[in-house]
Symmetry: C2
Subunit: 419 residues, 2 copies
């Protein structure tokens, strides 16, 4: 690994990761701003801003932005999450300077034309509609909102239709000025890249970006609860969360291991019991979501109306059982899977650029692969068992359910199983 | 590129593609059997068989199959399409022999236990339900069925609930015996692999596989027509197909270029007109589907009930307009995107193993990257214009629409626009 990091005078960090033999590069900017940094009145604005960044700058129209990158065979994309906004390009190796130029242009010189704002809001209204129509997408918004009610981290990334329609030019520009600050931004490139050349490009392109300013982040407070929406669907989509681990938590890797052995692969407990032994589900899986100051552990399953009560019981039983009868071989298997997936996930330039940027934002440094492997190896059977004992006992779970719900137990009865 | 192909005595082809510096490998078997090779009574059985391959062999239980691969950090997966079934593993480099052993075991020594069949059918029933609940998934099944009515290639891959529940052990085993034949199978590996070692493993593992037998394939006959399903959704999900190109068609690359400039990237015509200028959609894109003897060109868009009529008109206008006013710069941009995406798509071992297997099955050889690039470069503006003239004039389109449909024009009126 030949990863190098340089911090510009204004605090923007530049990270490069040359991959021998590659003819293409992944280049992106990760900004430490997302839905959780919005006030209630601002909810959805990070995502509107992400869309508006593509709608024209002082030197390029929206069409020119698209054409200039796509004419050289590249592409440009972006996403908004709860704690970050990312803009990234994939280009052939000679076009890294172009990618940096476009990224710096859209992130510093967007004009936010009124007519473009009006049209783009309608595009986002359609995006909200599409998400609503996709049960195994919208259910995770419901779950997050119920886990963290009445606080920024719980709100949806897209916001509501009426709120999105209400955002005006001044609010968007102001939000960008307050949130897109050099110390919170990382320019990360992997593949066919050269560090010194990248730093020179970054100095020229991002050197004038504001170093000062800042904004508050409301701490996340998990509460839990119940959200149900009856819909005429073939399946009940059912998701359950309990408090998990933050990025900073000592249990972070233990939770990754626990999630793997519970709902990671074909040999995991939930897959074996719920799909293989009982045939209740096609999709059943678990995952851990982490933030800087909080986190959740989630299981999802979809099943027919007639099976939902059995599913909900078995799911709870499986979670509760781990702290009793977890075996060394399961922990070892989950560790092997986690380590291999980290390795496999680092074989493409786009994934690597993202991992490095995220590590810089979370830990302030790039974590060497060997260090992560050691952290995983260091987790003992007892730690995972103890974690499972804390996670699934004496907690207030969060339930989100969507579909034909009449057979699903009331929340109180499900919650009581976690006493 | 150091790709090598060896054909075993029974006709099974082994292809390896060593990628320097990689610590992991992708290894899979591609079988030239899918939904289009099924009779009406067999519809869904290729997919049931794919599921059952994981449910136990004469030497390993379902749990052991999962555990043995996941204990070394690998994973195993499979998919069924209309013309093939694929089984593939991702493993660390030392575990290629294990991956080949498991693949050969599940593809030759599956026991199809009656109880496992009964349970797995219910898993597939849940999979059918999940697909049905996902509008922008199920709509493409409706579109295919309406493009190719009453023929194997038009039927859904998953089949119907009642048909899946009706499959018995003997039918599944018989289907495997008739369809899993060495000459139609390719063992493909990319990443940390050695060709000679792979061939030795293949000879040992697959040498006894039957070389003879065979089955008929009913030629695909495009007909077109209309499918509508009213559902209470936020969006109308709208898809439209016209006859496209088969893999063997001279227009194959011209169609890829046409699809790119119409609905490929942000600078494409449909994205610009429908999303950027009119704000009608969040998702709007096009793609070409090819088979050995037929193909379609498809556009998809999702929009609110109040916009569907405008959308359907604009979509048609944009398709029809291409043959009139296509510019050299659009064709050049689409070519650059297509070539770059081929290059970027070949940077990961899993994608490479699949591309090579598919090329062997379709063309009987691996296509060198330079040859594909030349074929793309050789397409002229006139060819793309002429193709657009044939595709969107004097044809019977296929429409599939799902959602609140009352504002959508009747099929006859939409079809008349393609006269």
């Amino acid at each position: 690994m030949d990863v190098k990091v340089t911090t510009l005078k204004n605090g923007l960090r530049v990270i490069s990761d040359p991959m021998p033999g590659l003819e293409t590069s992944a280049v992106g900017v990760w900004v430490d701003t997302g839905a959780r940094h919005e006030t209630a009145a601002e909810n959805g604005i990070s995502h509107v801003l992400e869309h508006m960044a593509f709608k024209g700058t002082s030197k390029r129209s929206a069409l020119q932005i698209a054409e200039v990158i796509e004419s050289v065979g590249g592409h440009l994309n972006a996403y908004t999450s709860r704690d970050q906004t990312a803009y990234y390009a994939r280009v052939l190796k000679d076009d890294v300077p172009l990618a940096v130029d476009i990224l710096s242009d859209i992130l510093q010189h967007s004009v936010f034309d009124e007519q473009e704002i009006a049209r783009e809001k309608e595009v986002i209204v359609q995006e909200i509609g599409q998400t609503f129509d996709t049960p195994d997408d919208i259910i995770f918004d419901y779950l997050q909102e119920t886990s963290y009610p009445d606080q920024p981290i719980g709100r949806s990334i897209l916001g509501t239709v009426s709120q999105v329609r209400g955002f005006e030019r001044g609010m968007i520009a102001d939000y960008m000025n307050r949130h897109y600050l050099a110390p919170g931004m990382v320019l990360s490139a992997s593949g066919a890249v050269d560090h010194d050349a990248l730093v020179r490009l970054a100095e020229e392109a991002f050197g004038d970006l504001s170093a000062s300013g800042g904004y508050e982040m409301e701490p996340a407070v998990y509460r839990g609860g119940d959200y149900r929406e009856a819909r005429k669907l073939e399946q009940v989509h059912y998701a359950l969360s309990v408090p998990g681990a933050s990025y900073m938590d000592d249990d972070y890797y233990a939770l990754q291991i626990l999630s793997g052995l519970l709902g990671g692969g074909m040999s995991s407990r939930l897959f074996q019991e719920i799909r293989e032994r009982r045939g209740l589900c096609y999709s059943v899986f678990s995952f851990a979501s982490s933030f800087m100051d909080s986190g959740t552990f989630t299981v999802y399953a979809g099943t027919g109306e007639e099976h939902i009560n059995e599913l909900s019981h078995v799911l709870t039983d499986e979670l509760r059982r781990v702290s009793d009868d977890l075996s060394t071989s399961e922990v070892e298997r989950a560790k092997a899977q986690l380590k291999a997936s980290l390795l496999m996930g680092m074989e493409g330039p786009a994934a690597r650029a993202e991992v490095h940027a995220r590590q810089l934002q979370i830990y302030g440094r790039v974590l060497p692969a060997a260090e992560i492997t050691e952290s995983i190896d260091a987790v003992s059977l007892e730690e995972v068992k103890n974690l499972a004992g804390r996670l699934f006992y004496g907690v207030t779970p969060t339930i989100a359910a969507l579909g034909p719900l009449k057979n699903l137990d009331p929340y109180e009865r499900i919650a009581a199983r976690f006493n």
